[in-house]
């Protein structure tokens, strides 16, 4: 099954790294879309469908928390699994994002394999 992914992060460098990890992870990647903040991501999602979203938290205009809240208010968009990729490793933030509906959480810095593993878990790609 080919996947469409949306990466939301205000750092072009981090988006590039995440994109590279997904590309070399062996996923059947159909499309990799990018946005630099939550509002840009919302606009993009009005026109394009994706199968999974990876989002940072600290971003200008609309941060990751506001973005996930906005997503989950929509019946259709709210069904897209969201993996948070953030520097915030505090327990309260992780609990907060999961309670808002995020399906996964990866803290920066991370090994590429950790991101791959979290995506596999969220997308339901099982191990043999």
């Amino acid at each position: 099954m080919a996947f469409r992914v949306l990466i939301v992060d205000d750092s072009p460098a981090m988006r590039s790294v995440i994109r590279r990890i997904i590309q070399i992870s062996g996923f059947d990647l159909k499309a990799c879309l990018e946005a630099s903040h939550g509002e840009e991501a919302c606009q993009l999602l009005r026109q394009e469908w994706v199968d999974v979203i990876l989002t940072d938290i600290n971003m200008p205009v609309m941060n990751g928390e506001q973005f996930v809240l906005q997503l989950k208010r929509d019946d259709l968009l709210g069904s897209i699994p969201v993996v948070v990729v953030s520097t915030d490793a505090t327990e309260q933030r992780i609990r907060r994002m999961l309670s808002l509906g995020a399906s996964g959480y990866v803290t920066k810095p991370f090994f590429p394999e950790a991101l791959r593993g979290e995506l596999e878990r969220v997308l339901g790609i099982g191990h043999g």
Binding site: D10, S11, P12, A13, M14, S16, V17, R20, N58, M59, P60, N63, S86, T87, D88, A89, T90, Q92, R93, T107, K108, P109, F110, F111
Partner: protein, 155 residues
């Protein structure tokens, strides 16, 4: 929180980020060599919380280019634009800042504002309100990184 503990947290956070995503071999540095005219990049990340403060990072330009290539997975560091290198340095500051803040005892959480490159000079200088900054220098294979943390004084 005492300066000694802040300093340890700063070094631990910087080491974790540089090893995990930049594959950097690190040793403790003692001082920034006097190299007038050597171009360097400085990034500053403001954060808001309890306490608020600033994290600054200073790195020689040639070292920044090398670690940017390592971070991005680029074989050729010469092929990177200055903008790409600058963005990587900002993201390095962002990650170190987040790693530091995640280690500080805090009940209300933090927000980190997007780091920005600032014009040259010593990143570890005292903050605008005169409060001292805690600094650590880490030696890399082809250069060094200085990270500084200044917590705003609680009013």
């Amino acid at each position: 929180m005492g300066e000694e503990l802040q300093s340890e947290i700063l070094a631990t956070a910087a080491q974790e980020v540089l090893e995990t995503m930049f594959f950097a071999e690190l040793t403790e540095g003692s001082e920034w060599p006097d190299s007038p005219g050597e171009p360097q990049l400085c990034a500053r990340a403001r954060f808001r919380g309890s306490p608020s403060g600033t994290l600054c990072l200073r790195i020689p330009a040639r070292t920044a280019r090398t670690i940017a290539a390592d971070f991005l997975g680029a074989e050729n560091e010469e092929g990177l634009s200055d903008a790409q290198v600058g963005d990587v340095v900002c993201e390095l500051a962002n990650m170190i800042c987040g790693s530091v803040l995640s280690r500080l005892e805090n009940e209300t959480g933090f927000d980190i504002f997007r780091p920005e490159l600032v014009s040259g000079g010593r990143s570890g200088s005292a903050g605008q309100d005169g409060s001292p900054a805690v600094s650590r220098i880490l030696e890399l294979a082809n250069g060094r990184v200085e990270v500084s943390l200044r917590l705003d004084q609680v009013e």
